[in-house]
Symmetry: C2
C-alpha cells in the first residue's frame, strides 16, 4: 500500500543535504557531533541501568534475542537517521555489555578504560588520521614518534637505541617479535615457550610458517629453569625463548634474570611477553618484580590491560632499533624515494598494517594527564585490591586460595567444590548477570579466576563478590543435563 499523495513535506527528508549526513571533521564537525554524543551518553546511561549487574541476565540466548530485537532491520531501505540508530544500538550494546567498570566484572585482562582516554579516542575517530603516510597524519605521526621514543626509554633505559611500535595488542606484538627473529636469522627460528605462555605465541609460529614451538614445562606456573636449560642444550639454532611477565592464568612472572642468563649461555634470543605485567615498570614500589626485563631483545606490552586504555593499545619494544629493519617497506604512493629525500617522513616500516588508527593519542593524553605519580597510584590501588581479595579469601572458611597474587590475578574456589561445580558456578554467575569471573586450571584443579583491573574497586565490592560466589555455589551438584 503506497502512501497517498500529500502537500506536506515528506516525513523522511532526503539525505542530499550535507546537514543530514554531517562529517565529523572540519569546522562543522564539532557542532554536528555534539548532539549525537549527547544521544550516545544518554543511551549508555539507560543501557547500564537496564543491567542488574556487570552483565545482562539470561545468558547468550536472551542477550542475542534482545540485541536482534533492537538492531533489526540492520540495513533498512530507508534509514532511521542518526539519533534513532545511535539510541537503539548503543542502548542495546550497553544493556548487553559485560562492563569492566563494574567491580564484579573481573574475568579477563579486560580493563575499564579511563574517561580521559576514551575522550581522547574520540578525537582520533573524528580526525581519522592514518598512520601509513605523513600526508595523512602530519601531527599524529609526530605524536606517535614522541610517544614511542618515551616508551622505549622507559622499557630499555640503558639501551642506546631502543624503539617501540604501536600494535593492536599483545597478540600482534608477539607475532611481530617472532617475525623479527625469523628475519634476523634469515630462516626458521625455533621458538621455545613455557607451558604458561600465551596461546598467541604458538599461533604466531603457525602463521609465520615456523616449526611447532617447543614447550617447556611450568609446573608451578612459571617456566622451569632446569627444563629450559635442557631444551636449549639439545635444540638446533637459531633459537628464540619467550618468557612471560604476568601469565594469563595466574599473573605470575617467570624468573627473568635466570632465563636471560640461560639464553646468553646458549646463544638464544629472548622475547618477554609482558602484556600484563609490563606497566609495573612505572611503579617505584613494584618495578623490582620486572628485574631482568631489559635483557630481552623484544618485549610485548599492552596498555589496554594494566593501563586503562580502550582497545587497542599494544606495544612492541625492541632493545635495538635496527631489529625493525625487516619491516622496511616501499609503496610508491606512500613513500616514494624523492619524497623521502625531500624530507617527508617514511612511516611504512612502523607496522605490518597499512591504514592505521592513531592509538598513540589516547595513550599520550593519559600519560600527560596522570603523570608518573598518578599512573603509579592507579597501579598501587589495583595491586592492593588483589592483595586484599586474597586476604579475605584466606580468612574465609568456605573458600580456598590458590596462592598470594603476584600481580592482580587471584585464584580461589569453594573448599568443597568439584571441578564441575566450579565451572557450573562460573556459568551461573554469568547467566544470572551477577559476576564475570574467569577460570583456570592450576595444580590439577579448576579455579575461579578474579583478574582485578579496576583501580576503584572497594573492600565492600570484594566482600560482595565473595558473598555472591558462596551464595551461588551448590556443592556436589550431581548431573546438570540442561547445561551439558
Amino acid at each position: 500500500m503506497s502512501a497517498p499523495p500529500s502537500a506536506h513535506p515528506p516525513a523522511h527528508p532526503p539525505v542530499q543535504s550535507p546537514t543530514h549526513t554531517p562529517l565529523a571533521g572540519g569546522p562543522t564537525g564539532p557542532p554536528a557531533l555534539r548532539p549525537l554524543l549527547g544521544t550516545v551518553l544518554t543511551a549508555l546511561t539507560t543501557g547500564a541501568s537496564d543491567r542488574p549487574g556487570p552483565l545482562p541476565a539470561g545468558g547468550p540466548a536472551r542477550t542475542t534475542a534482545q540485541l536482534n530485537k533492537a538492531a533489526q532491520p540492520l540495513f533498512p531501505d530507508t534509514g532511521t537517521g542518526p539519533h534513532e540508530a545511535l539510541r537503539t544500538l548503543v542502548h542495546a550494546l550497553a544493556a548487553g555489555a559485560a562492563d569492566p567498570a563494574h567491580p564484579h566484572c573481573a574475568a579477563h585482562l579486560h580493563c575499564p578504560p579511563l574517561a580521559v582516554a576514551v575522550a581522547a579516542d574520540l578525537a582520533a575517530s573524528a580526525l581519522n588520521p592514518s598512520m601509513d603516510s605523513w600526508d595523512q597524519a602530519p601531527a599524529a605521526s609526530a605524536l606517535e614518534e614522541a610517544l614511542t621514543r618515551t616508551l622505549a626509554a622507559e622499557v630499555f633505559p640503558q639501551a642506546p637505541h631502543p624503539d617501540t611500535l604501536i600494535t593492536t595488542g599483545g597478540t600482534e606484538s608477539n607475532q611481530l617479535a617472532l617475525l623479527l627473529a625469523r628475519e634476523k636469522h634469515g630462516g626458521p627460528v625455533q621458538l621455545v615457550v613455557g607451558a604458561n605462555a600465551h596461546h598467541s605465541l604458538t599461533r604466531a609460529a603457525w602463521l609465520l610458517g615456523l616449526p611447532e614451538p617447543v614447550v617447556v614445562p611450568a609446573p608451578n606456573g612459571t617456566l622451569d629453569l632446569a627444563a629450559l636449560d635442557e631444551a636449549l642444550t639439545h635444540l638446533h639454532h637459531p633459537l628464540l625463548v619467550a618468557a612471560t611477565a604476568g601469565t594469563t592464568d595466574t599473573g605470575q612472572i617467570d624468573p627473568l634474570p635466570d632465563i636471560a642468563d640461560l639464553c646468553q649461555q646458549h646463544d638464544a634470543d629472548l622475547h618477554i611477553d609482558a602484556a600484563y605485567g609490563g606497566p609495573l615498570l612505572l611503579s617505584p614500589a613494584h618495578r623490582h618484580l620486572l628485574h631482568g626485563l631489559d635483557r630481552a631483545h623484544t618485549i610485548t606490552l599492552d596498555l589496554h590491560k594494566l593501563g586503562w586504555q580502550p582497545v587497542a593499545a599494544g606495544i612492541l619494544a625492541v632493545a635495538d632499533s635496527t631489529a625493525l629493519r625487516p619491516l622496511a617497506h616501499q609503496a610508491d604512493y606512500l613513500n616514494a624515494d624523492d619524497d623521502t629525500d625531500a624530507g617527508i617522513p617514511d612511516l611504512l616500516g612502523r607496522s605490518l598494517r597499512t591504514t592505521r588508527r592513531p592509538d598513540a593519542l589516547k595513550i599520550a593524553v593519559t600519560l600527560k594527564s596522570l603523570g608518573r605519580d598518578g599512573f603509579a597510584e592507579l597501579l598501587e590501588r589495583t595491586l592492593a585490591a588483589a592483595r586484599l581479595l586474597a586476604d579475605r579469601i584466606e580468612k574465609h572458611p568456605g573458600l580456598e586460595l590458590y596462592d598470594r597474587p603476584t600481580l592482580t590475578t587471584v585464584l580461589f574456589r569453594p573448599t568443597d567444590a568439584t571441578d564441575d561445580d566450579v565451572a557450573h558456578l562460573r556459568r551461573t554467575l554469568l547467566t544470572e548477570g551477577r559476576a564475570v569471573l574467569g577460570r583456570t586450571h592450576a595444580a590439577g584443579r579448576l579455579w575461579l579466576k578474579a583478574t582485578l583491573l579496576n583501580p576503584h574497586t572497594t573492600p565492600e565490592d570484594l566482600d560482595a563478590l565473595l558473598d555472591l560466589t558462596c551464595t551461588h555455589h551448590t556443592p556436589a551438584h550431581p548431573e546438570r543435563p540442561h547445561h551439558r
Copy 2:
C-alpha cells in the same frame, strides 16, 4: 625552589579519589565523559581554525616542532589533569591534521568519517567490549554476528553459506585470504597478482612464508588477461589469483568475469581485493561495475575507504564459511569445551587477533542510520564529484586528464610539466598547507592523483582545487637543490 608551606589545599589534589580518575563505563561514566568531550570538541574547533587549509603549513619540520611544543613533557612527574592534557594534545592534533573532511584533502583512500559513525565509536571505547570471548562482549558479539551475516549476504547473495570477518583493514583482509588459501591447500600456495595490485598482497606472502608472488603485467592499469592465462598455464598448483576491484593508483577494476573464467579453467582459487570498489555493491546505479565479484572465493572490503568509517573497518568475505575453519583456535581461558557445550559462544575463530575492538558497532549504526537509500546516495554523490572533476580537467587548457574515472580517482597534470615538476608541485601544495594530493606513475609518466571520498565536495571546491594546482605550478623548474 620548593613551594612555601601553606594552609591552602594543594593546587594538584592527589588522585586517590575515583572522582579524579573517573572511568568511562558504568553509571558514573557518562557524567564523567560529558565535560571531557566538551573539551575535546572545543580543541577540535580551535585546532581546525589554526590550519590555513586541509593541513598545516610548514611541512614536517614545523609540524613536528609545533606538536612537540604542545606535547612535551609527555610524561611529567605530576600530571596536568584530564582537561589540560586533552586541550593541548587534541588541539595540536587538529591543528596539525591532514583533515579528510576538507575538500582539498584528496590524496589517499583516507575518508572523512561521518559524525554518526564517530559518535557510535565513542560507545565502543567507553564500554570497551573485547571480541575474543562472550563474557567480554555479550551484546557486542551478537551485534557483530548480525552485521557479518548481513554483509555476507550482500557480498555473496547466491551462496548458501557465506560469511564475513571484521578486520583492521584491507591489508589484514588480504593477509587472511592468503592464509586461508595456504591452509586449504595444506602448503605453499603460489600467489599470482597483477602489477596493479596492492602492495599488501606481496607483503602478506612474505609474512606467511610463501613463495614470491608471480606478477602479471597490467599495462593499462588492469590485469592483462593473455598474460594471466599464460602464467596460469605454466605455474605449479596450488594457485591463488588476486584481482583488484578499485586499484590504489587509478581506481580501475580488473575484468572480473574474464579472470574468474581463467581461474576456473586453470583450477586456481580467486581472491578479489575490493577494498576500494566493494561498496559499489550497495549502489543500484553502479553495482554492474562489480559483475563477477561473487565468483571469488574470498573478497577484501574496507568501509574506512568508500564507507565513511573511522579507522578501522576492514572486512574479509568468504563464499563458503567452511573456508574459515583454519582459524579455529582453542584457549582454555576463553573457550573451554565445557563452556562451549553449555552454550557460551566461541568467538576465537573469528580473527587472528585476540583482544579486539567492536568495530561492528559504528558500521551497524551507519547502515541503520543511512539505510540503503542514504548509503547509495552518498556513493552517487562521491562518484559524481569525480566525474565532474574529470570534466573540468578535460576542458581546462592548462591541464591534462589521464583517463575518465571508474571510481573516484582522477589523475591529471599540468600540460607542460615534467615528472619532477609534478612531484615538486605536490610537495609545494603539501608544505604550504594548501592541498593534499597523491601521486601515481601511469603510462610512463607521473601524475597528480585526486582520490575523492568526500560526498559533500561541491563544484566550487573542485574548481578551487584546480586553481590551486595551476597557481602553484612553476613549469620547467630546473634544479631544486634544497628539495633533493
